[in-house]
Amino acid sequence: MAEKPIQGEKRVFMTGNEVIAWATVAAQADVMYGYPITPQNEIMHYWTRLAPKYGKTFLQTEDELSAGFTTIGGVLAGRKCFTATAGPGNTLMQEPFSMAEMMRIPIVAIIQQRGGPSTATVIYSQQEVTLTTFGGNGEGHRIVYSPSNHQELFDYTIKSFNTAWKYRFPTFLLGDGYQAKMREPLVMYDPEERGIELIKPEVSLGNGMEKGHYNHLRNTFNTEEELYEIIMSMQEEYERIAPEIIEYQEYNCDDDLDVLIIAHGVVSRAAQEAVSKLRDEGYKVGHFRPITLRPFPEQELRATAQRAKKLLFVESAYGQMAKLVKEALFGLQLEAETLYRPGVGITSDEVIEKVKAISQQ
């Protein structure tokens, strides 16, 4: 077998899907299960080229249901497994994701958002926020990272495996078609060489009495009370670990603000650029970016939002991130404006224009 895929630090210029494939290899993932759908296909393309060199495997399944459930099987066998999907595939995968949620199965799924609803476009959107954070017939006991550049695609793919196996909640890297397809420079590295400990997977099924007992795993229960106990203890644990997982970034949010722009993912880049240009022109504007959409940085956003005269929600969806934001800010007397562009990219100029319009009110 070949040596470590990445030795030392490697400066590269590549597409987001290629970055993710490299990151999964660097994270020592064992198996990818997948089904073709745009815009995630190249994750499979690069994985199938890289995997055999490092003793890793791939299975192209018959559909996304199967990709999700085989991923669950592989994780139960004690291997680091992942899948990747988008749009209608994400819709189908909510079934296996809900099983993973109920059974605390640490699967990792890369979601490259495309336009919706239905087949819509193969290009780009931020319309899978609600589906990825709260899809399925459950309570959203999931962890969702929303990266905004290629360095983060690499960093948070590696982190997703560690988070999943440490906390045993299904973990998602929520990218999008733009991030998937565009090329950008970044530094790839071996996580262990950087002192990042890779959490070892645990075998649930297939090693018999080696673990001292046979496991009988199920997601069906006989009574309401039995289920209630399980959901409540899961909720309790989710709330307990949330502060350890929550991540966010603030740009120019130190003083009082006329406008606070809230945006996530690739749209955050437009917001950052807008803030920087508007600051040069003397506008008191800042930007808050949740990196984890689940759990959501509630307390952190509440503290910052209260120093702003007005909020501006910016996203390539019609208020899906805003729902999470409003939930977090519940009870505060705040005013908000919106820049919603479902399924369409957002430029810094559009954000600037909107902020200026708000400021003239």
Binding site: T71, G73, C81, L205, Y214, N215, T220
Partner: protein, 257 residues
């Protein structure tokens, strides 16, 4: 009446397979249900092949769900129709595992048929047991893909009209057609346990030998939903069902020279 004597002190303990989970016995199936026989054949085969600690047993939703803690082996209960991909995922990730997927006719031939067809076509090194009792038992006796022509169920109350709903599904015939070399395909019946046991064991052994996809459909009774007594239940399995669903081995891997 003489003094009461407990069964335990007055009889020999039953001879149960080693791979039975004693804590879940007696099992949870209805009186006269066929699942018990199939599960016993699986347990005896696991014992005889000495694979208890390598086995992962997966069960579907439907009555098969009630077997989630039946065995003293690593077990997982999946979603309706999704046991085949869960076991496939386990086997692919750890080829040392002996993966068994257990399901009903609804799980295998309706909601999970795409998984069965494709796992068979890929010749996955897993073993699938599918219990055919010609109806959805757990949900109250609805029509299944295997419901016989004219058979009354909750969703075919005037009898299954095959003009409207198609022919009863011939699973092993389909699996035999799409699998490659090394596959094992058979149809057994709970009315012939000795033969059934032989098929079940061969289907697991075929995986142990790493040959190919292994599939056994088993004809079984559902007296609760059929509303049949013992005689009619047995008669339906042995005659009506066996006349339509031919019992026997459909595909056996070539013996190595």
């Amino acid at each position: 009446m003489s003094e009461e004597v407990s069964v335990a002190t007055n009889s020999l303990p039953p001879r149960l397979p080693k791979s039975y989970n004693i804590e879940s016995k007696p099992h949870k199936f209805c009186p006269g249900c066929g699942h018990g026989s199939v599960l016993r054949a699986i347990a005896e085969s696991i014992d005889e092949l000495g694979i208890q600690d390598r086995t992962v047993y997966g069960c579907d939703i439907g009555c098969s769900l009630l077997s989630w803690d039946f065995f003293a082996v690593d077990s997982v209960q999946a979603h309706h129709g999704r046991t085949t991909p869960v076991i496939t995922g386990i086997k692919r990730a750890n080829p040392n595992v002996i993966g068994i997927a257990y399901m009903g006719d609804g799980g295998g031939y309706a909601i999970g048929s795409q998984h069965l067809v494709n796992a068979a076509n890929r010749n996955e090194r897993i073993t699938v047991f599918l219990v055919n009792n010609t109806n959805y038992g757990m949900t109250g006796g609805q029509m299944a893909p295997t419901t016989l022509p004219g058979q009354k169920t909750e969703t075919s109350p005037y009898g299954r009209d095959i003009e409207q709903t198609g022919q009863p599904f011939l699973g092993p015939e389909m699996v035999a057609a799409v699998t490659g070399e090394g596959a094992y395909v058979a149809r057994g019946t709970t009315s012939n346990f000795i033969q059934l046991k032989k098929f079940v064991k061969r289907a697991i052994e075929n995986q142990v030998n790493g040959k190919g996809f292994s599939f056994v459909e088993v004809l079984a009774g559902c007296p609760t939903n059929w509303r049949t007594d013992a005689k009619d239940t047995w008669g339906r399995i042995e005659n009506d069902m066996a006349n339509y669903f031919k019992v026997g081995e459909l595909k056996v891997p070539a013996k190595e020279e």
